[in-house]
Symmetry: C2
Subunit: 541 residues, 2 copies
């Protein structure tokens, strides 16, 4: 035994020496401190599309072996200059410095570190109630028209600005998580819920004077979605957060954000059925027909219907109906407040869930990489109710018939592909009182296109007008996320620039499309999504 | 950059040299071939209690660092001689040779290898239909009383013997997976479903002449449970397999065993809520009140109610109600065909699920490491309907009141702890026509106790008689798994010996407890569980 052991050890030693020599040819492995820094940059900037475990989703998989074949210099060039098809030019935009780019390029040659998975006890420790429900006002403490407030995400400052939509003046700025991804309104509209990309959820009470964060918790390390409970009798009772990392869905108390139940979303993929360790939670919406949320898992291609009506019982029963829909589910919105339409974006498809029958109703071919945001709804004279999405990868607004009961011949068919002057759309938006669907192009590589907007005629189903927003290009800003005010008389769009320079929010008349106002100020830095209280609470878009 | 890289590499080389030298002091690492063999032995003999990832469950966690502290010699001694509390004496029993024990001891010092996780496509390739449903008989092709057949597991030969219960003669022997863990009857009783510990499911048609395996598939690498769909309208339509590895639940077609849907059971644990990568599926039963299965996850302490009634729809919707019950769920059975009682065995608890209301109804303190099998039901003159379990770790049959509607004062209370002469019980069994509950002791370290049985008086709630089964000790056999015939007039118990020596099945008169017959033959090797068709199909125990 002794002799054998020594022999084997020498053999091992030999291999170790060879391995060490081989390493001398390759770029130096990262030191622990470098690795930590690289992992942080990767997590903030790359993981969203490529995954923490680098298995790919919106972006391709980044296998260390293949990355080594490409080489550090190639990787550095791509990270600096981007690629057509969506890879941002992090270096050219000045978001990543040369040192950062080198770190990340070398990081990609090494195996991805296993990120931690917090326990339920640990996430409970992140929970803070600043103002308990019983100490909150029973009516608004100010005379503002809070249903026409806008919550404007200030992405890179980790804040949300509350803006009075009537007066177009800043009401207050509240701190939230890093790079807030979305705001959702509670069922009553009284609360905004913000979810940071860092996984922090914040509950903002708009009845306080000024509005303030009354509760928060951090159920994830990385998150993209949050939603409240909206079914009759359950208004504002629960909230749910969809995590990117760990791949998990966390149910919270709706009024305090206390974590109540965690469900892992590690799951087998639709189709070939491999086990997906990083099955991330994309869009979540609250059903109007049942006490449930529609939860979309990106990499495993499943839609889960999550019933929150039994959580008060022993053992917190949580019925989850697992439906195989399709891979790479991303975002989506309501049609007729009954059909939830979600983009399977890497497959260029739309998936339709009938939330009344609780069934997978249909699949529709969209453009290239559809990105609905929540999409837009209107009544067309010929096609009846339609819903539309923009596409990141093709210059198209895809219009789909959505009424199988009264217009079955058009239901779940593309009734029109409206050609746009540019690709790169992230959001389109309309309002019942407006004749237009407004389209943005922030993902276009052309600065001029990114500074432009188009208006589509909802009856003619064609582009009526496109224009470049004056002053945006000068600020290196991309116009993003059109949003209507409560009355549907105004369209607000944000100029998304760099954190170093204040930009603006432009307000248009929703009939004439004439510029009506600009909201500016030192605080207007990296404004991205903005959410009108009434339209968000009542799903008007 | 160049200079820095070389420096760093030299630093790494230094560390590698140091690591190699340190290894020379420790036992030699296993060669790839040794590691593979050790992993196989570990998987077959150790993983059941300690887990493939060695996080522990019925047995303790086996952390490589702690194992190294204990040392190889200590580990070898424990594997050879066992430990009080349940660790078997693998060496003394002659099941593991000295070479095997050394391999496993050294294996425990190394990090557990990540076992493969098959994809859905891969498990579909294991699916074989030997006789398609349309070619199967429409009535029995023999004149035997098939409802009184017994399916006798021949554990280590990978077979199931079908025995005619009326004539006490062997009908046929069919090949199944390795170390079949249980048989379950289909709703109609016509089919036996066997699940091997190697994950292979076999469908045995008892109407064929002779009965034969008509379909099989292998949805797991390691499994313990299988069940059919029993709700009205869904009889024999679906089956479900509970995997130990990968931690997964797989729904199959009930008549062909075609894999239809896989669900990962990786989940957050009840309580502290850490993510459990090896959350294994323990007992599964089919509800009588709803089209659903009750599925118990061992390490994460959850009971899932799995509704199979929507699987025919697009996307195969599968509603799963996730209830936090308690950790280390193992096996269990019905009380009043309504309450499913499952042991949380490492917590010495019983968990009660009301399958009518679909709620977590109660928790009950059992003895030490309760192991109900399916338990036993009877009507007691004072306490009304009761259900009982044996315990591995204490000499006790625990009797629990189970009728909250008519006997609420006794419901979910221990009405009697009946003291036994020995601990080590795996199974107890009764029948409505018998005055006795029969108790085995196969886990007792005493060969005499393991060869013994006891009969409990169901009215007096005390031991009426215990006896050593003649001939069992001579064969080094443990008497295991009492089972009644269809009429409840006979009790069958198996003598579980080594594969090298045939043993016997003893048959007792269920009133007088006198030995009535012995079933013997060269084929009677390692008989363990046996299942009467009628009693298994109709949940009579």
């Amino acid at each position: 035994m002794e002799v054998k052991a020594v022999k084997r050890t020498l053999g091992l030693l030999g291999s170790l020496l060879l391995a060490a020599l081989a390493l001398a040819q390759a770029p130096a492995p990262l030191s622990p401190a470098e690795k930590e820094e690289a992992a942080k940059i990767y997590f903030d900037r790359c993981a969203g599309c490529h995954g923490v475990l680098r298995k790919g989703a919106t972006g391709p998989a980044l296998d260390p072996k293949k990355m080594a074949e490409k080489g550090v210099e190639y990787l550095k060039a791509v990270i600096f200059g981007g690629l057509p098809g969506g890879m941002p030019d992090w270096g050219r935009q000045g978001i990543l410095k040369e040192k950062d780019i080198e770190l990340v390029a070398r990081f990609l040659l090494e195996q991805p570190p296993a990120p931690p998975v917090p326990t339920f006890e640990e996430i409970k420790k992140t929970w803070k109630v600043h103002v308990p429900p019983e100490k909150r006002p029973t009516k608004p403490l100010h005379n503002r028209n809070w249903q026409n407030f806008f919550g404007q995400v200030l992405r890179d400052t980790g804040q949300v600005a509350i803006i009075d939509g009537d007066k177009k003046e800043l009401v207050t700025i509240v701190p939230t998580g890093f790079a807030t991804h979305i705001l959702r309104s509670s069922a009553t509209g009284r609360y905004f819920m913000a979810i940071g990309r860092d996984g922090k959820a914040s509950l903002i009470d708009l009845w306080m004077n000024p509005p303030q964060v009354v509760a928060e918790s951090k159920p994830c390390l990385d998150a993209r979605s949050i939603e409240s409970s909206k079914f009759k009798g359950y208004e504002d009772k629960y909230a749910v957060v969809g995590c990117y990392w760990p791949p998990t869905m966390v149910v919270l108390d709706g009024l305090t954000l206390e974590p109540l139940k965690m469900v892992s979303t590690i799951s087998y993929a639709k189709g070939a059925g491999e086990l997906v360790m990083e099955a991330r939670v994309a869009a979540i919406v609250a059903s109007h027909f049942n006490p449930e949320w529609i939860v979309n898992l990106k990499e495993s291609g499943q839609t889960w219907l999550v019933d929150y009506s039994n959580l008060h019982k022993k053992g917190r029963p949580l019925p989850i109906t697992m439906i195989d829909t399709d891979l790479f589910l991303h975002d989506g919105g309501w049609a007729l407040k009954r059909y939830f339409i979600v983009a399977a974006n890497a497959l260029n498809k739309l998936i339709v869930i009938d939330t009344k029958t609780r069934e997978f109703a249909a699949e529709v071919e969209a453009g290239v990489r559809p990105h609905p945001g929540r999409g837009s709804n209107w009544e067309h004279p010929t096609y009846g109710p339609v819903w539309a999405t923009g596409n990141i990868g093709s210059p198209e607004v895809t219009v789909v018939g959505v009424d199988p009961e009264k217009h079955p011949q058009y239901a779940w068919k593309v009734v029109k592909r409206i050609t746009l002057p540019y690709a790169g759309t992230l959001f389109i938006k309309t309002h019942p009182n407006s004749p237009w669907v407004i389209v943005d192009f922030p993902m276009s590589p052309s600065p001029q296109a990114a500074a432009s907007l188009c208006a589509i005629d909802k009856r003619k189903l064609e582009v009526a007008k496109c224009w470049e927003v004056p002053g945006a290009q000068e600020l290196k800003a991309r116009m993003v996320h059109p949003e209507f005010n409560k009355g549907g008389t105004e369209i607000w769009v944000s100029a998304w620039g760099s954190k170093d320079t204040p930009t603006f929010i432009v307000v248009y008349d929703a009939l004439t499309l004439k510029e009506k106002a600009r909201i500016t100020g030192d605080w207007v830095r990296t404004p991205t999504g903005k959410f009108n209280v009434y339209n968000t609470a009542y799903d008007i878009y």
